[in-house]
Amino acid sequence: MRYKVPAALLAETFDLFRQCGGGRRECQVIWTSTWAEPLTISRVVHPRHRAHGGGFELDDDWINDFWLELARTGQGIRVQVHTHPHEAFHSSIDDEYPILHSVGFLSLVIPDFARGPVGFECAYLAEIGPDGRWLEVTPDSRLQVFE
C-alpha cells in the first residue's frame, strides 16, 4: 500500500515544523485522508501539544475533539509525522505512544527539526506489523509525493 502525498502538503508539514518548533522543539503533525479515498492524503493536522527539545505530548482534550471531528468529516488518520533534533529514528516512546495502533499505520520521523530540505532525505519511516511491532520501511515504498 502506497499513499499519495501532495507536494504542497509535504511543504506545509515542513513549514509547520519550522514555525512551531523554531529549531528548538520537537513537533508533530498528522496526515489524514477521507475514507472514500483513503490512499490520497488530503489534510495536514497540527495537534495542540506540549513540546521540548527531546519530545512532545498531545493534549488529551484535543485528541477527544479530533476523534469526533474525524467521524463527523469521514476522515481517518494515515500517517503521524514528527521531528527529532538530530538523527531520525523511532524511539521507545515513539513505539509505545502513537496516535493509532493499527496494522499498517505509518510513523515518519524528520531529522534536524525539519530544517533541511523538504523531502524524505535522512527521514525514518516505521510501520506497525501484524504482531504490533514497528518495522522500518523505506519512505519510497509507502509514500509517493506528487505535484
Binding site: 495537534p47 505530548e57 498531545l58 467521524a71 481517518g76 503521524q80 505512544y97 493499527s102 501484524p130
Partner: protein, 96 residues
C-alpha cells in the same frame, strides 16, 4: 399476557444499551447489557474494530473527554446511557 403483565413489561427499564463506538473516523454500533463491565465493553469494541495489535493501549472515553478508567465498574455505575457515543482511542500520545 395479562394486562398487568403487559403494563409491567412496558414500564420495565431496558436492560441493554445501544452504544456508538468511534475509532479513527469510523462509527460502529454495539448492544450490551448495562450491567456489563467497562472491560467487557472495551474488549468488544476492540474486537469489533479488529486490527489493533496492542489492545492494552486503548481505552474508552466519553464525548466530553472523560476516560472510563475503572474497568471493573458496570456501565450503569459508570453512567453510560442508552444512545451514548464512546471513543476508542489511546490514553496518551507522545513522541521523543
Amino acid at each position: 399476557m395479562s394486562e398487568i403483565a403487559e403494563n409491567v413489561a412496558r414500564h420495565e427499564p431496558k436492560h441493554s444499551l445501544q452504544l456508538t463506538i468511534v475509532n479513527n473516523g469510523i462509527s460502529k454500533q454495539i448492544e450490551i447489557d448495562r450491567e456489563a463491565t467497562v472491560k467487557a465493553l472495551l474488549d468488544r469494541a476492540i474486537a469489533l474494530f479488529g486490527n489493533i495489535p496492542q489492545p492494552h493501549t486503548q481505552s474508552l472515553w466519553t464525548e466530553k473527554g472523560v476516560e472510563l478508567t475503572n474497568e471493573n465498574e458496570t456501565l450503569k455505575a459508570a453512567h453510560v446511557k442508552d444512545g451514548d457515543t464512546l471513543l476508542l482511542r489511546p490514553g496518551a500520545v507522545k513522541g521523543g
